[in-house]
Structures are given as C-alpha cells and as structure tokens.
C-alpha cells in the first residue's frame, strides 16, 4: 500500500515537472560517469602494477602514486615543464603553418572544378602516406632539430584543415550564392563576405582535429630528431631506454594532457568565434 502511494506521487511529480528531474539526472551522469570510469582505470592500473611488481618487473607498470611522485619531484617537474614548453612550441608552429597552407590550398580548390580535380588527389595522398615512413628522410634533408620537427607536424596536421575548409567553402547554399551574383560582385568579395564566413564552423572542426594531430606530430618528431631543444618525445625515448618507469609514465601523461588541452582549447575557440550563430552539437 505504501509502495503504491509513493509510486503514485512520483508519477504525478513526473507529470507536473517532466523536464527538471531529467535534466538534473543527465548533468549528474555527465560528470559521474567519467569519474567512475577514471577510478576503475586507476584501480585496474594498481592491479597491473601489483602483478608486475610480483614478477620483479616494477618499471614495466609502476604504481600510480609512484608516477605522481616522480612527476612532482624536485628536478623532474622542471625537466618535464621545459620539455612540455618545447613540444608546445613545435606543435603550435606546425599548426600555424598547417593553417596557412591548408586554408590557401582549399581556397584555391574552391575557385574552379578543374583546380579542385588537379589538387585534391594530392591532399588524399598526403593523408594516405604513412608519415612515419618519411620521418628519417625529413631528418636527412632538414637536419635533426626544430625545423624537421615542425615539418613532420605540418605533414601530420594538414589534411583535416584542407578537407574541412574545402567542405565549408562549398557548403554555401545555391540561392545565397545567387543573391551575391545578382549584385555583380567579384570572386574576392564572394569569398570574403559569403564563402569564408560560411566555412568558419567547418574550419574550426578541422582545426580542432588538426591541433590534436599537431601534438602527435611534435612528439613523434622528437623521437626521431634528438638535436636542438628536447621535447616530450625525447624524454619519453630516454626514459624508456633507461627503464625509468615512473618518469616514463609521467612524461606520457604530460604529453597526453597537452593533447587533451589543445583539443579542448581549440574547441572552445571555435565556439567563441562562431557559437553565437552556429550550433556545433
């Protein structure tokens, strides 16, 4: 009897305010879910660490608290932050160059079908060749320092920017294009006042993907090119060779955090730039 009453009340409450409880529930799940998964993963990590410790291989999988200790220990934190700075420098320089090349490439292709037909296959080729296969060659040609790292970064980050910018430029509705045509505007005006603003949402989607890839490029470039200012990739290689488990894991985590941060920052940048009129979801 009591159960029936409670059920009746709940049903009524739900009928009166159907939106509020559901929304609260969703927002709780939105942060609770990831937190639970995080602790599950840390738990699993402890289990694995225990397993390897038992087998006498503690540097394979060190305990999480050891990694945190290593990360924030006196000299190590400094070393990690310096490497992080250098990797960020490489990633952002590469990304900036990729933006310039990518947008120019796409704008060129959007001018005429024959230009698109001539140039697009090479964008696809760029996407298909394993960049890692090129990395040693880039080292030979451009030296084993900053310059070579940036080139690897550009090659890895370029494709999404080319593809998404082109897609955006071509997404303009026919009638809007005709509205401009009827005023007898030039190609340049059409590009600046219609196509480019219309392409911005897609460009930002491409930019977010490319920014994440730029971090991958910077870290990978590091592992092959050891000269110049060492970044996170150099550290990771070094710690792996020396079997410094906790330090290795700390460096990997910092590199991952850089990737996540860049992804989030550029996502927010897009929202800031076009979120006023464009709904990304």
């Amino acid at each position: 009897m009591a159960a029936t009453t409670i059920e009746g009340v709940t049903a009524e409450a739900r009928a009166v305010t159907p939106v509020a409880p559901r929304r609260r529930k969703r927002s709780t799940i939105s942060w609770l879910g990831p937190v639970v998964v995080f602790f599950l993963m840390v738990g699993l990590w402890y289990a694995l660490a225990y397993y390897y410790a038992q087998r006498g291989l503690p540097y394979f999988v060190p305990y999480p608290h050891q990694v945190v200790e290593a990360m924030f220990s006196e000299g190590e934190f400094q070393v990690l932050m310096t490497a992080l700075l250098h990797s960020t420098e490489v990633a952002m320089t590469g990304l900036a160059i990729a933006i310039v090349i990518g947008v120019t490439w796409a704008v060129l292709m959007a001018q005429a079908t024959w230009i698109e037909r001539s140039l697009f296959p090479y964008a696809v080729v760029l996407q298909c060749i394993p960049i890692l296969a090129l990395v040693p060659l880039i080292g030979i040609l451009f030296g084993y320092n900053f310059q070579a790292r940036v080139i690897v970064t550009v090659l890895i980050a370029l494709f999404p920017l080319v593809a998404m910018t082109l897609f955006g430029l071509q997404s303009v509705a026919k009638q809007q294009r005709e509205l401009f045509q009827l005023q007898g505007v030039s190609r340049a005006t059409m590009l600046v006042k219609l196509q480019f603003p219309a392409a911005l949402p897609s460009i930002f989607v491409g930019l977010r993907t490319s920014a994440g890839l730029a971090v991958v490029g910077a870290v990978v470039g590091d592992q092959f090119f050891q000269r110049g200012n060492p970044g996170l990739g150099v550290l990771i290689q070094l710690y792996a060779n020396r079997l410094q488990g906790p330090d290795l894991y700390a460096a990997i985590i910092v590199a991952s955090l850089l990737g996540v941060t860049v992804f989030v920052v550029f996502g927010q940048l897009g929202k800031l730039a076009v979120g006023r009129w464009y709904d990304f979801s």
Binding site: A173, Q176, E178, L179, L182, L194, V274, R276, W277
Partner: protein, 260 residues
C-alpha cells in the same frame, strides 16, 4: 533599349510608357534537352503586379531566372527598362552570422554604398516591413515570417523599380502567409514598384495582382491571362467576397484545363 523617339503627345518621359520587363517569344532549353519554356510573351509595366501561376516544375522559376539574368534564354528577346531589380527567393537567404540590420544592409554594401547611407536605408526598410526592435536579432532567433520580412526589407534598400518574387511565401504557414500578403499589397500601393510574382496558389495570385497569367506544363507556355478588376489599395476582406471567389474560380478553371 532605344528610347530616342520623342513622343510629344505624351507629357511624361518615354520610358514611362515602355514596359519595365518584356519577354518576346522566349524559349528555354536546358543543356540536357529539357524544354522549360516555349514561346513566352509577357510584359510587366509600371504600376503592374503580374502573377504567374502553374504547378511545380512547369518552368515558372526559369522565367524569373531569365528576367534577373541568372540564366540566359535560348531564343527570343528579353528587354529590361531598369536595372533597379530586386529578387526575392523562396528561402529568406539571410546570412546566419549577420544580425537583421547587417543582413538588410548587405545588398547596399555589395553595391559599394557608404556605411552611413546604407545604415539609413536599412533602418528605413526595416521600419517599412515592421521589424523595428529586431535589428540586433540573429536569423536563428526569428520565425519564418520574420525572416521573410527581413528578406523583403533587404530588397527594398536598393529602391527597386521591379520586384521578382520566386514563391516567397511558399514555405510559410497559412496565417503568416495571409498577413504577409496583406503587407506586400500595402507596400505595392504605397511604394510604386512593379512586380512579377511566381506562385502555385491561385487565391494568392488573384489577391495580390493586377494581372494573373496561367502557365501550362512543360514546356511552359502562357496559355491565358486575366486582368484582375479590383482596384488598389485592396481591402483584405475582398478575399471573402463572391466577386473574388468567382475570379479565383475562372483562373483555377483555366489552370485545370492547361494541365489536363
């Protein structure tokens, strides 16, 4: 077009007597071989509001696209006595990143008018269509009817002498549609532009126009023309009068015959 022959008997410039838009034996065949229009003769003079009715796909819109210069007729002659032409699309075609004021300013901006003049023009046009207070709103914050008002306002900034309407109210609900028809009619009697209006609604055509032309199916031909007897300005209530119903009946009948 030549306007050199003096006409001493008429006390106003010769251009006044010429139709703003003239189609003479115009045909349109698309590259694929589809014949969209054939033998079309049509004039729109000053003070005229001409509607073309016909079912979807009969080539009505092609007529407008040729008039505006978006397409070129395969054969025949098209004459235009003005370059102050406004084209109103079925979609409002507002730029989503610009607010109402920015959108209404667009055409004058593309024509290279100064910022002060175009702002003034835009405000005037916004007042004309009853969108005051929404200048700062983005298109996504507007209803379909308000978007169409903004689109109309944008066209007015160019002081058009000839309006080309491509089923502008086709996507609106019945109530909004009726209200916008009333206001377009009011603007027509106050602003002295001529109009060529494409629609598939016979009642809409009769209500708005001084002349209604019926178009046949592909290839599109103009099969019958009706002069609409009701004087301007029109009372919205004429739509419920027996005379109005009778004219709508005649046009509908002609339309049915053209497509049987």
């Amino acid at each position: 077009m030549s306007t050199t022959t003096p006409t001493p008997t008429v006390g106003r410039p010769h251009t006044e007597a010429l139709p703003l838009l003239g189609f003479e034996d115009v045909a349109m065949t698309f590259p694929g071989g589809t014949v969209a229009l054939s033998g079309v003769d049509l004039t729109v003079g000053r003070g005229e509001f001409v509607s073309v009715v016909g079912p979807s796909g009969c080539g009505k819109s092609t007529l407008l696209r040729i008039a505006s210069g978006l397409e070129t007729a395969s054969t025949g002659t098209v004459t235009l006595a003005t370059d102050h032409i406004a084209y109103v699309f079925q979609d409002a075609t507002l730029l989503p990143w610009r607010n109402v004021l920015g959108n209404v300013e667009l055409l004058a901006e593309l024509k290279g008018r100064g910022p002060k003049i175009r702002r003034e023009k835009a405000r005037e046009a916004i007042r004309l269509v009853g969108l005051e207070g929404f200048e700062k709103h983005l298109p996504k914050q507007l209803s379909g009817g308000m978007k169409m008002r903004a689109s109309l306002a944008r066209s007015f900034t160019l002081d058009p002498e000839l309006f080309l309407f491509d089923e502008p109210f086709g996507a609106l609900d019945e109530i909004t549609r009726g209200r916008l028809q009333d206001e377009l009619l009011k603007l027509f009697s106050e602003q002295h532009f001529a109009g060529l209006f494409i629609t598939h609604s016979v009642a809409e055509a009769v209500y708005l126009s001084t002349k209604v032309v019926v178009m046949s199916g592909r290839p599109g031909r103009l099969v019958e023309s009706f002069d609409i007897p009701f004087p301007m300005p029109r009372d919205p209530d004429i739509r419920y009068s027996p005379e109005f119903t009778e004219v709508v009946g005649q046009v509908s009948h002609a339309l049915k015959e053209a497509h049987s």
